[in-house]
Amino acid sequence: MGDYAYAAPSTVDSTVELLSNTAQSGGRAQVLAGGTDVLVQMRSVDREPRLLVDVKQLAETNKLSIGDEEIYIGAAIASAVLNENAELKGKLPGLIESADLIGSTQIQGRCTIGGNLCNSSPAGDTIPALIANSAVCHIVGADGERNVPVEDFLTGVGTNCMAPHEFLLGLRIPTPKGRTGDAYLRFIPRTEMDIAVAGAGVRLTLDENGTCTEARVGIGAVAPTALVVPDAAAALIGSNVDEAALNAAADACSAAASPITDKRGTVEYRTKVVGVLCKRAGAIARDRAVVA
């Protein structure tokens, strides 16, 4: 057990090298983005010294691009910066709202979607919205780059598929086309600054008759990881996203949930509420799609 150290490499290669060398020499490195999880954890649950590798200086992790096919959100961009980007907010209002739910104004100034995902908490607010938006993780490491869908990236409570020599560069999201809308809702006992009891994200596309042609539903805080719920999407596709279809999607979310009971909510409560949130988020996504 050595001392704490800090490095802020300026290239992707030197970042990977630093992570790889530390892992090979038996040392411990941890990637630092906004630090709003890392610094809290470093002072409480996990005080063991480590090399903190700041990835905020890299051009790649700060890249934000909105293309015809793909929206790219660099892993180190603070939530507040994303929220100030009107074009991005217009394209992905649900995802940006999920990022805006994280903490306070002060936390927003630092926290990132990448950090929220890599922290891999079951209750991370952006994760169901990322899943609903078919987001893919753009990862780099000693073996080169790879792309992993968010639902496959998550492996358990606080764990993901990245090796110690790898880190997240950014997230790739298919650009919404035609009449497409997304939404994310969570339930917390307060209006601000709390951890989700349950959350649901929905993205859907309507044709000119208002029939849903594509849908994706992600849920959070009701299983060890956020989940994609194909049955809920199936209930929406082919419908007009009416009450009956939304109820069926809600039931599918409740059926997919396997929550725990803790001080924030019981199994029964979370199971029910995740369905209600899916129904409401589905209606918002539908209304956004109509005017898109």
Partner: protein, 159 residues
């Protein structure tokens, strides 16, 4: 532990300071630079007593590393007044008795100042949401919100 040399700018003044790699910016300001106006309430990002600006953006200094301030501009409560002349927000906090023990006050003022710079005419809901990450155990918030509203209107219509 190997200390790291940090060159930063605090309230417009260049500063050189040695920090431990795991020191927070809050530690660096208070213990390294003797700027004790910024307070520690929780050290976990929940209370906002440690609010400062980093390159103009409002953050909790307890959740930023001192080393991360290298090459950056930090704004603290010590930079809010103009010499002996209080900032309008400070004056309004006094007039409205928007503080009792005062531990939360530097954080509220730094946060409210950042709000008014971004949005000179915020409504009450906007003020309350913006300041939701600043906790006060004494005042019950109402007087704080009134002080911020009053400061905003005074800034909008200079006497």
């Amino acid at each position: 532990m190997a200390k790291v040399h940090v060159s930063t700018t605090v309230n417009g003044q260049p500063q050189e300071v040695l920090v431990e790699p795991n020191d927070s910016l809050l530690d660096t300001l208070r213990d390294g630079l003797g700027l004790t106006g910024t307070k520690e309430g929780c050290a976990t990002g929940d209370c906002g007593a440690c609010s400062v600006t980093l390159d103009g953006r409002l953050v909790c200094s307890c959740l930023v590393l001192g080393v991360e301030a290298d090459g950056k501009e930090v704004g603290t409560i010590e930079g809010v007044a103009d010499g002996d002349g209080l900032h309008v927000l400070q004056q309004k906090f006094l007039e409205h008795a928007a503080l009792q023990c005062g531990v939360c006050t530097p954080g509220f003022i730094v946060a409210a100042k950042a709000l008014l710079e971004k949005n000179p005419d915020p409504d009450e809901t906007t003020i309350r949401y913006w300041l939701a990450g600043n906790l006060c155990r004494c005042t019950g918030y109402d007087k704080i919100v009134r002080a911020v509203q009053d400061a905003a209107s005074e800034l909008a219509t200079p006497a």
